[in-house]
Symmetry: none
Subunit: 411 residues, 2 copies
């Protein structure tokens, strides 16, 4: 069964605000097996709201509208729905009493305009608002369920939970939606797609979506079935094939961040990590310390952003930089070994390179990054050439570094 969400409010069409109610609603709807197929954001604008509503009535079994139910001039949702559905408005005595009572409770005089909220399209049921004056509305119209909810999240959420979830459960055909999120590091999007397309293509259920950001590919599998167990089975069947194909390039099958996975593995293996960051400038430390409890396994490190600080802070020989250059294999290795020795960590990680925009030469182009990992059994350095802007290079370098630590810990 398909739903669409219409968010009403001119503030949602400014550069300052996003409609976030739809995330909450989508999660709840998905868990009932209802897919959200479309979201529309429209201003406090009678003509366009009417247009959007007419289009929705032609295509969606469940239409959820948020906002525009308040008492002010701007709030046009109630009137527009009454017009488009060809139903007059009638005053509901009980809503009127509740609004009047609410104002008495908070000791305020009620402006007459507030009574607008007691007007309800004929045939609509109203949904009590435990946290505000605007009631919600539920209208069945030509087989479609139209649910009108107040815009403020603190009013909308409890109303949807208390008044809509059970009722939707009874209406929708049995069915549940299960989502699995794989994340992949170390492979480009096109390669991931080329390798797994032959696997997911034959399936229409689960539906597969691929999302790429620098150094990370997400694969979302979403399956619907009469019950959760069967939906899980559908996801698991395709999931197994994808896991087999991509192997350890997949770092999580439940949506974790890479730094969370690295943290978990360090804890499980009883290992500790320290970092020496040149071009990543603190990004790796910052990601690792986002995790609560990271002090158990992350000892810290140095941000050796200037040439001098590589010798001053990471304890590498001051002769090494003039002879090799600060962006070089020997310096990177010395940083990884140096920070490991200084902190007595199990693993020392170092990154040095050129993230731009300046500092590049013919021999050492922009995007040249060295990463080194030092452990008990010695150290290794790898050379990378990343393309793109500064931020992207820094992100790719931090992602590649953390992924290397992950793979090392899995060995």
């Amino acid at each position: 069964m398909d739903a669409e969400i219409i968010a009403v409010g001119s503030e949602l069409l400014t550069p300052l605000r996003l409609d976030t109610n739809s995330l909450f609603l989508t999660e709840k709807l998905n868990s009932l097996g209802i897919e959200v197929r479309l979201k529309t954001i429209v201003g406090d604008d009678r003509r366009r709201l009417a247009e959007v509503l007419r289009a929705a009535l032609g295509r969606s079994a469940i239409i959820i509208v948020t906002g525009g139910l308040g008492p002010t001039e701007d709030d046009v949702t109630r009137e527009v729905f009454s017009e488009v559905l060809g139903r007059g408005l009638r005053e509901v005595e009980e809503i009127r009493r509740q609004i009047e009572q609410r104002f008495r409770q908070i000791g305020r005089k009620m402006a007459a305009i507030n009574l607008k909220q007691a007007q309800v399209p004929v045939g609509a049921e109203w949904l009590e608002n435990s946290r505000g004056t605007a009631p919600g509305l539920w209208i069945e119209h030509n087989g479609a369920q139209i649910i009108l909810l107040p815009g403020p999240p603190r009013e909308l959420k409890p109303m949807f939970e208390a008044r809509c979830v059970d009722r939707l459960t009874r209406i929708v055909p049995q069915g549940r939606l299960v989502t699995r999120v794989y994340k992949v590091a170390g492979l480009p999007e096109s390669e991931v797609d080329e390798r797994i397309a032959p696997l997911y293509k034959p399936y229409t259920n689960p539906v597969t979506t691929i999302l790429a950001s620098p150094g990370e590919i997400e694969i979302h599998l979403r399956a619907t079935a009469p019950n959760e167990e069967e939906a899980e089975k559908l996801v698991a069947e395709l999931g197994r094939k994808i896991e087999q194909e991509l192997g350890r390039s997949i770092f999580t099958s439940c949506g974790e961040t890479l730094e969370a996975v690295v943290g978990r593995l360090l804890r499980e293996k009883g290992k500790t990590l320290a970092v020496a960051e040149g071009s990543t400038g603190g990004r790796i430390a910052e990601r690792l310390t986002r995790q609560p409890g990271s002090s158990e396994y992350f000892l810290g490190g140095v941000v050796c952003y200037s040439h001098e600080s590589k010798a001053q802070l990471a304890g590498i020989s001051p002769d090494l930089i003039p002879s090799e250059g600060s962006v070089s294999q020997p310096v990177c290795r010395a940083l990884a070994e140096g920070i490991r020795r200084k902190t007595q960590a199990s693993l020392g990680l170092a990154v040095t390179g050129l993230s731009g925009p300046s500092g590049a030469t013919t021999e050492k182009p922009l995007g040249l990054i060295y990463i080194s990992l030092a452990g008990e059994e010695g150290s290794e350095v790898r050379e990378f050439r990343f393309t793109g802007e500064r931020e992207r290079i820094q992100e790719l370098a931090s992602q590649t570094s953390l992924n290397w630590v992950r793979k090392k810990l899995l060995q």
Copy 2:
């Protein structure tokens, strides 16, 4: 002139993702005097995308579509537009060459599927993508301007700036909107609003909006006028009053980040900075090194996340921690002085504290943060008690630290 934005991508209909590109686009469009009247979010779904496009063609002079231009099976925008507009697809030799070249540069084999991106609807102009393989498209159709942009923000933003802004400026009738963004640090939202409300209340043009995030308040002034000069004048009049009231608590009047302001001041004053980060775990270094050219003034530092690393890396006396505790005024001061001495920076900044969730005691509660700043004339330590979750505490600590450096540099 009215615009609407259509965001394409099934991931934008999950509980995990919001379309944030439209915020950037709305800001740019508004500044040209173009209002966004509608936003639609649609999945990788040919039928619904076609429906949405047909509706848009009937009502909007400018239609901006984001996403779905990539190389995978999911990416249907190009095909759907070619169908609905009744224009065939043709391969553009130059795009093909650029895609092939891009893959050669990064030294990867190109999957054949990537060539899909060289297919362009007949009569469309293509917009070069400086940061990815998917070109944008600009189609004039029955008087409407249809602009197709790639979904990733890092590709979309520069493309829109470089290829669309000027062209739209020539198309839209005169009438300009000017926005000024002040940012304030070191004051709570309620105080900012209390102090400036009497100033902005009398004005309906500019419109004032206040937005708060941890440690930072934004004040947006938006004025409309027949031309830019008059709009600027309207903004400047109210702006002056706000600047007078808030003084140096305002760190920018043009939307800069705090780290950019600190970087600019360090450069202007010919000073350098090094940091020793305990509870902020690399956040301050990460923010400073986001700025291109930060190696001129940011020397680096240490992330002394574990107790031991405070002695090992920052060179403070190992006796100090057992006697004072690692979260203490003397240790924080020693860290600031130590990192300054080690790196020979003009200013040494240190942060140590308890960002939670564990580690708190009765004497040292969660949210206790010490910040110290050391310079030529000596060092100072300040004690803060922040409330909230780990991430908020880390953010407040990094924001407060950078703001202190800013104020120091302004003295």
